[in-house]
């Protein structure tokens, strides 16, 4: 039996080791007796006590305790230590199409509950990366894990945990909005009892409950994107992969979509969203991944990247009276540190 180490001296190691213990338990190692579990950190202290308990109450009691620790771990996790759970992990991802290298050594980690913007010009490899994460393409090299599951080893399980909204839409002649969602609810094999309720929830969330009987083919682009998002949500996924959801939308629909994405993040979903316009994502993302020609340019929190990329900041000024734009432009350009002012048609000025 290991010597007891006080909990407070090994707080960091505790969580890591507890997680390992649960991993061991999952791999059918008897909890409390695994070599990892008695390494001698704070957890060692706990486990040696637990081991004693297990000797008294036998294996069933130990198993019950493991459940308690699991719950404890989750509680800590939701209590601000979000870094513990990595929802999406990409390591040295590479994809070749004949002679073209579409994705080149991409590596990043996305913690659970975060929104990560994926930015790059057209043809940078965003869609390919997203398709690999969604198990629709096979990587040439590297590895991707979604909630700890490898795309190479457990693609079926990943599909259950993932909602993918591709840049294409599909064809559904004759189907109404409700039929469409019902169909996908069946496709995801949701139990018949809760299927209808889930469809109602999705329609309410996406604002489609006003037009349940409208045929899919007659929907506007914005409504179609909502429906597409609803489809991606029908299985209540942990990770949402959205490929250019705002492409082709008018400003109002973009604002509405941003609101929906924020709501989803508030609900605890991890969101990986792509766009070729950086400013489009600035309001909603807390992480940013920038790629170009398949190669990773930057990855980090939005602030880090903003600090690291340049000293300049773009400021958007909305004017109450658009006639004042020329005056304000002249005024701003006279200020020290302002390099460029650009008036926009929607009555705003952006200055750098």
């Amino acid at each position: 039996m290991q010597a007891a180490v006080p909990l407070d001296t090994a707080a960091d190691g505790l969580l890591e080791d507890m997680a390992r213990v649960i991993a061991c338990r999952d791999s059918r190692t008897r909890f409390g007796f695994s070599p990892v579990a008695t390494r001698g950190h704070g957890l060692g202290y706990r486990l040696s006590r637990l081991e004693d308990t297990a000797q008294v109450f036998a294996f069933k009691a130990a198993k019950r305790l493991s459940v308690h620790i699991d719950t404890y771990l989750k509680r800590i996790d939701s209590g601000g230590r979000e870094g513990l759970k990595v929802m999406l992990k990409v390591e040295h991802l590479t994809k070749d199409f004949d002679r073209l290298r579409a994705v080149d050594d991409l590596s990043f980690e996305l913690p659970a509950g975060r929104i990560c913007g994926f930015v790059g010009p057209n043809g940078a490899g965003k869609t390919t990366t997203m398709r690999i994460i969604a198990t629709l393409e096979e990587a040439t090299g590297g590895e991707v894990w979604v909630d700890g599951l490898s795309v190479h080893h457990e693609p079926y399980a990943i599909r259950r945990k993932l909602g993918f909204m591709p840049d294409h839409y599909g064809a559904y002649p004759g189907l109404t909005v409700r039929d469409y969602l019902e169909f996908y609810a069946r496709a995801y094999e949701l139990p018949a009892a809760g299927r209808s309720r889930r469809v109602d929830q999705i329609m309410e969330f996406t604002g489609l409950d006003r037009i349940p009987a409208k045929t899919v083919e007659t929907l506007s682009k914005g409504m179609r994107q909502r429906l597409n998002l609803g489809r991606a949500l029908i299985n209540d996924p942990l990770l949402l992969v959205l490929d250019e959801p705002a492409a082709g939308l008018d400003p109002r629909a973009r604002v509405e979509l941003r609101y929906l994405v924020k709501e989803l993040a508030r609900m605890g979903k991890t969101i990986f969203i792509s766009s070729h316009i950086l400013t489009e994502l600035s309001e909603i993302c807390d992480h940013l991944l920038i790629i170009d020609h398949g190669r990773q340019v930057r990855f980090g929190s939005f602030e880090e990247i903003a600090r690291g990329l340049c000293n300049a900041q773009e400021i958007l000024v909305r004017l109450l009276s658009p006639e004042a734009a020329p005056v304000l432009e002249r005024f701003l350009l006279e200020r020290v540190g302002i390099h460029h002012v650009a008036p926009h048609e929607n009555g705003t000025l952006s200055s750098v």
Binding site: D12, G13, L15, E16, A19, I22, A23, D26, R81, E82, G83, L84, V86, M87, K89, E91, H92, D96, D98, E109, P111, A134, T135, L136, E137, E138, T140, G141, G142, E143, W145, D147, G148, S150, H152, H153, E154, P155, Y156, R159, R160, L162, F164, P166, H168, Y169, G170, A171, P173, G174, L175, T176, D179, F183, Y184, R186, A187, Y188, E189, A192
Partner: protein, 532 residues
């Protein structure tokens, strides 16, 4: 109840049927067919034609109407599936976790359900035709059964054609073909009815009912025939089904394993069927068909699956890992959806050809006169040489990295070689054989060249039994086949090694760690937090 829930829970069946029911043409078609059936029955009943003619006329009209209805369903089904394929809608279905089998099954059921709408509307009138006389009851029963049995492979073939049409132009071609069939049916119907009124006659199914009578009388030959038909029918339908599944599979998935398995079982059944006929009936020479079937299947299988990826796609690997049925792991290995699986299947079929040759020439099976023995040796040496034709042209170019690293290029090269070299060698053989005096000694050279150059020239050269070389050719072919198999294995192993090397090169030195359970980062928590 379980059957009902299978249909109810199949999302694709639900979707396709909903789409069809919401389609405005559905109601119109149904009412039109019903009106046609009523009108035709009333018209024929009231028409003052001689007794015994009304039944066949009404039956012909109803059957024609049903055929037209089926063609309309086919048009719609083809259009919907092709559109879903072009717009990559199948990818979204795939993402939902719906298996490819469920997709194709749902589509087939939906087409079948649509057909049954029309079928149920017409069939009662077909039996009314019996009351008008001139048509046998069993003929009607047979027509009903044949219609039901025939539509399944037709629907499967339609779905396969729709999802195989990789280009929009192919979709148009498919519609044109269906349109021509429609015109043909309309023409046949019109002229058939006209000819009947003008000259009299029976129905398309006249006399078919006798088969049912034989079955009822428990005649062995009829039951044997039915069993044989069912074996081939089931395998054929399954092959079409899995080919359709395979056609819609994304790059991470494939259904090549069942396709290869079914090709193998169909080939075995076919060989056994023809072999049985050959042995039992001395007048019936099925040997050439049997051997050439094996030859063509080996070549097609090789060219379609050998110059292919060396690793199975991830979804197929996952399915293999989850396979729990007895013999499933062995089947997944033997017919693996990669080049190795193709080669293993080819080796299996090649051994079947060897076994056939041994059986037919060893005296274990009585095949009759000496001439038949020579035929067996000559004809069965063709399939044995197939691996050589697959490997030899590619082996010449394999050393060039541009070809080696791109199996598709190698495949194209082999096809061009087969056609080009085959035609040249055949022309040379024909010229040498036609003018032996002008080119003395050229014939043996042309025969050897033809036998070695390409499968096309080998077939042309070897089928002519006049040459003296045919006595040694089977042994040479066997030898070449073994060399070909060896070359195939060697090239494949080398390709697999190169691909693994390339993959390792693509993944930089910080080699990918083993998968982490429970969504944990490979980094310690402290490091993760520091990052945060």
């Amino acid at each position: 109840m379980r059957v009902v829930s299978i249909f109810r829970d199949n999302a694709m069946f639900y979707k396709d049927l909903t789409q069809w029911l919401r389609n405005q043409t559905f109601l119109g078609l149904f009412i039109l067919l019903l009106c046609l059936a009523w009108a035709a029955s009333a018209f024929i009943t009231l028409l003052p034609i001689e007794s015994g003619k009304g039944g066949p006329v009404l039956f012909g009209l109803l059957w024609g109407g049903l055929l037209l209805f089926t063609l309309v369903i086919l048009f719609q089904g083809y259009g919907l599936s092709a559109r879903e394929f072009f717009t990559r809608t199948f990818e979204l279905y795939e993402l939902s976790g719906m298996s490819l089998e469920r997709m194709i099954l749902g589509k087939t059921w939906s087409l079948l359900a649509q057909f049954l709408f029309g079928f149920s509307c017409v069939v009662p009138f077909m039996f009314f035709a019996f009351l008008l006389g001139g048509i046998d009851f069993y003929d009607i029963v047979m027509a009903v059964l044949v219609s039901l049995v025939a539509v399944v492979p037709v629907f499967l073939a339609t779905i396969l054609a729709a999802v195989s049409a990789k280009m929009r132009s192919m979709g148009v071609v498919g519609r044109v073909i269906l349109g021509l069939v429609l015109l043909y049916v309309l023409g046949q119907l019109f002229f058939g009815v006209f000819a009947f009124f003008a000259f009299g006659g029976g129905t398309l199914f006249s006399g078919w009912g006798s088969f049912i009578k034989q079955l009822v009388a428990l005649e062995g030959s009829a039951w044997m025939g039915l069993a044989t038909f069912l074996v081939f029918y089931a395998q054929g339908c399954l092959l079409l089904f899995y080919l359709a599944c395979n056609a819609i599979a994304p790059s991470t998935d494939t259904h090549e394993m069942p396709v290869k398995l079914l090709v193998a079982t169909l080939t075995l059944s076919w060989t056994a069927f023809l072999g049985w006929d050959f042995v039992m009936d001395p007048d019936f020479d099925t040997l050439t068909v049997m051997a050439f079937s094996l030859y063509i299947i080996l070549l097609l299988l090789g060219i379609s699956g050998y110059y292919h990826r060396t690793r199975s796609p991830v979804m197929a690997e996952d399915r293999r890992a989850r396979a729990r049925r007895p013999f499933a792991p062995a089947a997944h290995t033997q017919f693996a959806p990669n080049a190795f699986g193709t080669l293993r299947t080819m080796v299996g079929l090649w051994l079947v050809a060897v076994a056939c040759l041994v059986l037919l020439t060893s005296g274990l099976v009585d095949i009759g006169s000496g001439g038949r023995m020579e035929d067996a040796i000559r004809v069965f040496s063709y399939p044995l040489q197939a691996p050589y034709f697959l490997a030899a042209p590619a082996a010449l170019f394999y050393l060039a990295p541009a070809f080696r690293r791109n199996p598709r290029k190698l495949r194209a090269l082999v096809v061009v070689w087969w056609v080009g070299a085959g035609l040249l060698a055949t022309i040379f053989y024909v010229i040498a054989a036609e003018s032996p005096l002008e080119m003395p000694g050229a014939e043996p050279v042309s025969v050897v060249l033809g036998a070695l150059a390409s499968p096309i020239s080998a077939a042309a050269v070897g089928h002519d039994a006049a040459s003296r070389l045919y006595f040694i050719l089977p042994a040479v072919r066997m030898l070449l086949g073994v060399v070909g198999l060896g070359l195939c294995w060697a090239m494949l192993w080398h390709r697999a090694l190169e691909e693994t090397r390339a993959r390792n090169h693509a993944t930089p030195a910080a080699a990918t760690p083993a998968p982490q359970p429970d969504g944990l980062s490979s980094e310690p928590l402290a490091a993760v937090e520091k990052k945060e």
